[in-house]
Structures are given as structure tokens and as C-alpha cells.
């Protein structure tokens, strides 16, 4: 059985950043991802990041993974394994089970940093499983990472930032966005993104939802309807929209299976997308061998994921006695960066959610 100081599960923005911090501390570190290429969802983030230089301001998301990988590859104490599934974590022994192309591998790690990201939420409507009903992240991946158009006429469901940005990116790829429906009475994401869509002529229908996808084997349309304040379709408001893709942007939820397996105390926090581990400000969960980083601890975005990843990495290393010279100063700086990112008015819900996730449960 392989033994390491720290195992990091997930090589997206949070995991890459966590592994780099672990590497700098001198701890032996294993970074694991089931994809063959590192970067997680950065691979489709074509926009330039903002914030400070520490969060790669001015750099496009798609360029960030290679910056991390170049640094990690210089570190003899860091091993990156790609195309490997982390299939289980056994809290009593601290053993992780991995599966690598039919090989079963066990790793004993003194600390585990879980950076498994988030998954798309589903929506219940008729024919929601018809080919052509795609998650917004999936559409973005198909288009931005692999250069394949998802279709010709897209109905977007959800007006959060993901729905708005993916709609705009579809237009950039010469795909028509026939309409965007939002069940709430107002647009969820930033108005600057919504304005771009309006200028491009995309009708944004608030208080509207999708009722049904139309088609036999693939989507050829959708029925949308106005909803009242109790989210019920208003009689007589149903109408048909012709489209070949229905794109669901109804939010993300943290992928937290491993933290349940690890026996971490979990809490349902709607502002963070669902169940998240209760953690302290150093990202340590109630199981002291487990740290959480990035969207797995609450859905935000890639910049905050990189910061929480580095906090988790430094903290996990320090807990084992690996302390880079500037560890304390760096932690303080990272925490202030995170507070700054969340300080915008739009971050109010996140701030409340984080406070809720940090509040100690009864048994701690």
C-alpha cells in the first residue's frame, strides 16, 4: 500500500492550488483526477479572470491549468495521477481506494483534501431525459473545450450567471439562443451579462418555466409557460418554442459523497448549493483528517476555489508539521482575498452560507 502525507482528490482549480501549497510545504502529496487532463472545469472557462494577481487576474481560465502543472512538475514530492478514479475513503483507517484502468490501488494518506467540485442540478419536467436536454456545463464543455456545436437553436433554462454566460458563449459560437426562461420574477445573474444577451436580441422571459420537452428520439421543441407566485403554470400561458437543444442552467450542487463516507458532519445550506461539510476557517472538516476545497465545500467560482484550495493545502500541511516559511502570512492574505471576493453585494448570500457552514454543530 502506498503511503503519502496528503492526498488531494480532484485536479480542478481547488485541487491544483491545494496540491501546489502542499508541495511547497515539503509534504509528500498525491493529486488524483479521473480525467486524463488536469484543470477540471477550467478547461472551458474562456473568460479572463479578475481579482488580484494572486488569482490570475487577466488570464483566461483555460490557460491556468498549465501554469499549475508546470510548477507541480518541478516538485519531486508531488505526484499527479490522471485517469484514476478515487472510489472510496475509509475513515477508520484513512485509506483511499483508487481504480486505475482495471487496477485496484490503496493509498494511506494522513490527510485528504477533497476537491471534487460540483455537479449540475436536474429539473423535473416532462421528457427531461430526451437527448438534446443538456446541462449548461456540458454545453459549455462541448463547445469551448472540444469545438463542437451543441445544436442550432437553444432554449436556455435559468438566468443565473452560468445561464447568462453560456448563452452569450453560444452566440459567440454562432448558435442561436431562441429564448431564456427564468422561473423567478427577476434575472438571477449579473445585469452586465443579461444586457449583452438583450443587445444580441435574446428574449429573457422571467416568471417562465419549461413544462415539457418535445420530440421522439431527440429534442425538436419545448413548451414553456408563465408561472405564478407559487411556481404553478398559469393556465392558457403555454406556448411552443422550436429548438433542438434545451440547456439546463438551474444551479450546481457540491459533489460530497466522499465527505459523507468520511463521516464528516454535513449541513444543508441552500446558498452553497446543497449539503456541505461543516468546516473551520482553515477548511478542516469535522473529521480532522479531512479538508475540503473549492466548490465541494459550497458552490462559488474558480477564483475562490483556488484560494480555498491553497488555504486547505497550507493548513493540511501545517497540521502535519510541514510549514512553509511564509505559511501564516500567506494564510492571512488568502483569507482576506476570500473575504474581498465575497464582499460584493452579489456575495451576500454566499457570505451567509459560509457563516452557516462554519457554525459548529452540537457534537463538535
Amino acid at each position: 500500500m502506498k503511503e503519502v502525507d496528503i492526498a488531494v482528490i480532484g485536479a480542478g482549480p481547488a485541487g491544483l492550488s491545494a496540491a501546489l501549497a502542499c508541495g511547497k510545504s515539503g509534504a509528500t502529496t498525491l493529486l488524483i483526477d479521473f480525467m486524463d487532463a488536469p484543470g477540471g472545469q477550467l478547461i472551458k472557462q474562456t473568460h479572463k479572470f479578475f481579482g488580484s494577481e494572486r488569482q490570475f487576474a487577466g488570464t483566461r481560465g483555460i490557460q491556468i491549468p498549465s501554469i499549475f502543472i508546470n510548477q507541480l512538475s518541478q516538485m519531486p514530492n508531488v505526484q499527479l495521477v490522471l485517469g484514476v478514479n478515487a472510489s472510496g475513503y475509509y475513515a477508520d483507517s484513512g485509506v483511499l481506494t483508487l481504480e486505475d484502468g482495471g487496477k485496484f490501488i490503496k493509498v494511506k494518506a494522513k490527510r485528504v483534501i477533497i476537491a471534487t467540485g460540483a455537479g449540475e442540478k436536474a429539473l423535473a419536467f416532462e421528457n427531461n431525459d430526451l437527448p438534446g436536454v443538456y446541462g449548461a456545463g456540458a454545453v459549455q464543455t462541448l463547445m469551448n473545450a472540444y469545438g463542437v456545436k451543441p445544436g442550432n437553436r437553444v432554449l436556455m433554462v435559468g438566468s443565473g450567471n452560468i445561464g447568462l454566460i453560456v448563452s452569450y458563449q453560444l452566440i459567440q459560437a454562432h448558435v442561436q439562443v431562441v429564448s431564456l426562461v427564468e422561473a423567478a420574477g427577476r434575472i438571477g445573474g449579473y445585469l452586465v451579462h443579461a444586457a449583452k444577451l438583450r443587445r444580441a436580441g435574446v428574449p429573457i422571459l422571467t416568471s417562465h418555466t419549461i413544462v415539457r420537452a418535445i420530440g421522439e428520439e431527440t429534442v425538436r421543441g419545448a413548451v414553456v409557460a408563465q408561472v405564478d407566485q407559487s411556481w404553478q403554470a398559469v393556465p392558457g400561458s403555454q406556448r411552443e418554442v422550436a429548438c433542438d437543444v434545451i440547456c439546463l442552467a438551474v444551479g450546481l450542487t457540491p459533489l460530497v459523497d466522499m465527505m459523507w463516507q468520511a463521516g464528516c458532519e454535513m449541513k444543508y445550506v441552500p446558498a452553497l448549493g446543497g449539503h456541505v461539510p461543516v468546516r473551520d476557517e482553515n477548511m478542516r472538516a469535522s473529521n480532522p483528517a479531512v479538508y475540503v476545497a473549492g466548490d465541494a465545500g459550497g458552490v462559488e467560482e474558480a477564483s475562490s476555489a483556488m484560494i480555498s484550495g491553497e488555504i486547505a493545502g497550507i493548513s493540511a500541511a501545517v497540521s502535519l508539521g510541514f510549514r512553509a516559511q511564509d505559511a501564516d502570512a500567506r494564510l492571512a492574505l488568502l483569507k482576506s482575498d476570500l473575504a474581498a471576493i465575497r464582499s460584493a453585494p452579489a456575495g451576500e448570500k454566499i457570505r451567509a452560507g459560509i457563516m452557516s457552514a462554519m457554525a459548529c454543530g452540537g457534537e463538535r
Partner: protein, 92 residues
């Protein structure tokens, strides 16, 4: 197809009608529904349906979602071939 035929668990093809019937029969946790119907036991391990079932339970029982008990999570969290496990741990 009516509202009731909406697919909730894609892996096992469980519909909204079936979930509602089970709740009406007294299955009031995600785990109970899972055990009698297999909803959430397929290859995706409930990643698509769990939240939809939780919402349905919350609505039917008149409680907030956080009071809906979550099921137990066990390894493997992603499907692994039995032959992989049967061969045992690989040599380094």
C-alpha cells in the same frame, strides 16, 4: 405523457408517479424509497435524482429540505468492475 411520467431516476427509470405513490404508502426517507424502488442505486449513485426526491419528500411531508434524512454513502462512489476488486490490490 403526463406530469406523473416525469423521469426522476434516470438510471433505474423511476417516475415521479412512482415516487409519489411510495411516499403515499409511507416510505418517508430517501433510503426507504431507494430500498424498495432502486431509485438512486444505479450507476450514477443518486447524483441526479437524490435532490429531486428530497424536494418531493419535503413537499409531501411539509418539512424543509434540510429535515429530509440523507441516505448512507458507501464506497465505491463510482462504478468499479468486480474483476478489478477480485484481482485485489495491484503491485506498485
Amino acid at each position: 405523457m403526463t406530469d406523473d411520467d416525469i423521469i426522476i431516476c434516470r438510471c433505474e427509470d423511476i417516475t415521479l408517479r412512482q415516487i409519489r405513490e411510495l411516499i403515499a404508502q409511507g416510505y418517508h426517507t430517501i433510503d426507504e424509497i431507494k430500498r424498495v424502488s432502486r431509485a438512486g442505486m444505479g450507476p450514477c449513485q443518486g447524483r441526479t435524482c437524490r435532490q429531486l426526491i428530497a424536494r418531493e419528500l419535503a413537499g409531501a411531508l411539509g418539512v424543509p429540505i434540510e429535515q429530509v434524512e440523507m441516505p448512507t454513502f458507501r464506497p465505491p462512489s463510482r462504478p468499479v468492475l468486480l474483476s478489478t476488486i477480485a484481482r485485489g490490490e495491484a503491485d506498485e
